[in-house]
């Protein structure tokens, strides 16, 4: 009897978790800005020495942190994202032609990965109708409204940050650190999770699981994270 891909998922190190990553792969990386980033996996990919990566991420880093480390390391060939903003590392490399940047509406980015994970090869969406996002895409009027056909966006690997994982890979996320992490986990052939807490089977009630371990293939426990701020906005105590 062979062993399936859902046995023994917990690995001892980031390096072991990332062993399957190869040059030229498409990597989906969870996070919104610097929140919910798989920080140790991001650093580990640089140490692994792969290159020519296509990266799917909402922002591809910022303030020199997160995926900006990959941009600076020169291991990225293409970025598919929704927003560059003040990510100067990306602006610079886009301008020089070092990196190709494909900009997609954020909801379309999420839905294309949701489709990939759900076995839907293509779907119609109203987002971007009548805009430059239409360019090169099939359009159709349905019930009097204009829609674009968007394609599923699968990844070779997803790098995901979770607050809690059990040994099967059932995940819970914390607040808005959830963002793209669960949907990316569904959309990749291999999903690697970096969790703050690792717990035994049964420690999470079945109804409290945010994402089933069916979408998770490797788990590495990383207790310490930087969790960088972008804009620390506060109010004074009364």
């Amino acid at each position: 009897m062979t062993t399936g891909r859902h046995a023994n998922k917990v690995v001892a190190s980031v390096a072991e978790a990332l062993a399957p990553i190869k040059d030229g792969m498409t990597i989906l990386v969870g996070g919104f800005g610097l929140s919910g980033n798989p920080e140790a996996l991001i650093r580990g990919v640089i140490e692994r020495g792969v290159r020519d990566l296509t990266v799917v991420s909402n922002n591809a880093g910022n303030l020199g942190k997160g995926l900006a480390l990959w941009l600076r390391a020169g291991i990225v060939r293409k970025v598919i994202c929704s927003y560059i903003g003040n990510n100067e590392d990306l602006h610079t490399r886009r301008a020089s032609g070092e990196i190709t940047v494909e900009i997609t509406p954020q909801g379309t980015l999420a839905e294309r990965m949701r489709a990939a994970g759900a076995g839907i090869p293509a779907f119609f969406t109203p987002t971007g109708a009548g805009t430059v996002v239409e360019n090169g895409k099939e359009t159709r009027e349905i019930d009097g409204r204009r829609y674009l056909l968007e394609r599923a966006l699968p990844g070779d690997v997803a790098l995901v940050r979770a607050r809690t994982a059990d040994r099967f890979g059932n995940l819970r996320f914390w607040r808005t650190a959830r963002n793209f992490n669960p949907v990316m986990a569904t959309a990749a052939r291999l999903t690697i999770v970096e969790c703050d807490q690792l717990v035994d089977l049964g420690a999470i009630d079945p109804d409290d699981v945010h994402l089933s371990g069916i979408h998770v293939h490797r788990i590495v426990h990383v207790p310490e994270h930087e969790n960088a701020f972008e804009y620390r906005t506060v109010r004074k105590r009364a």
């Binding site: 009897m1 891909r5 046995a7 990939a116 759900a118 076995g119 569904t186 079945p206 371990g213 069916i214």
Partner: protein, 219 residues
């Protein structure tokens, strides 16, 4: 010995449904995600070591456990056959859209499904009898077309001795070219495109015996 006595022919010992379930269970890799169809395939769970595989129920659960102890039944914890069940540690619940996204998206490694006909090309027919009462499709088409591998389980022939392993299905299809293995009371057979490869035969079942009951060439 009287002249009227026929020569002794050993009768094959056909597999019981328990034998079939036990044999199908051997196809399940440790640490795989498996959906067991309603009816006979559900029995396959009885032959899996504890913790061996993760059982998926399309109504919204990964990690089906054994039936509950008497008195512990919960009508809101059921499998796709509407039987009361339990959840194993590490199980998780989810809604129907997420559950079928798992199936359609190829995240379920294996479905073991009941069948009415299987063709030499791996076509599966298991949801409707021509001219019969329409029972519905349920999750059958999603499971058959979405899971990474599909094993069919069925009696080798109908009660009227009609073939069920056939060149081409004449029952309405559930999905085309999806079945990789068929477990019957005669043995285990793999669709090859123009026939079926004999993987294993039940005790005393000869190739000729099986061929006479199969609507496509055995190899």
């Amino acid at each position: 010995m009287t002249p009227s006595t026929p020569p002794f022919t050993p009768q094959p010992t056909l597999w019981s449904t328990e034998d079939m379930a036990r044999r199908a269970a051997r196809e399940i890799a440790a640490g795989s995600i498996v959906n067991l169809g309603i009816g006979l395939p559900t029995q396959v769970a009885d032959y899996l070591p504890e913790g061996h595989a993760w059982l998926h129920s399309e109504n919204g659960l990964l990690g089906i456990g054994p039936f509950p102890y008497e008195g512990d039944e919960d009508p809101n914890l059921i499998n796709a056959g509407k039987q009361t069940i339990t959840v194993v540690p590490g199980g998780a619940t989810f809604d129907s859209a997420s559950s079928f996204a798992m199936i359609r998206g190829g995240h379920v490694d294996l479905a073991i499904l009941g069948a009415m006909q299987v063709s030499a090309t791996g076509d599966l027919a298991n949801w409707a009898v021509p001219g019969g009462k329409v029972m519905g499709i349920g999750g059958a088409m999603d499971l058959a077309s979405g899971c990474r591998h599909v094993i069919a389980m069925m009696q080798h022939v109908t009660k009227k001795q009609e073939h069920k392993l056939v060149r081409a299905c004449d029952y309405p299809l559930t999905a085309a070219r999806v079945v990789s293995l068929v477990v019957t009371d005669l043995g285990v057979f793999a669709p090859t495109g123009d026939g079926f490869r004999v993987v294993e035969l039940a005790p005393g079942v000869t190739r000729d015996y099986a061929q006479a009951r199969t609507g496509a060439p055995l190899s």
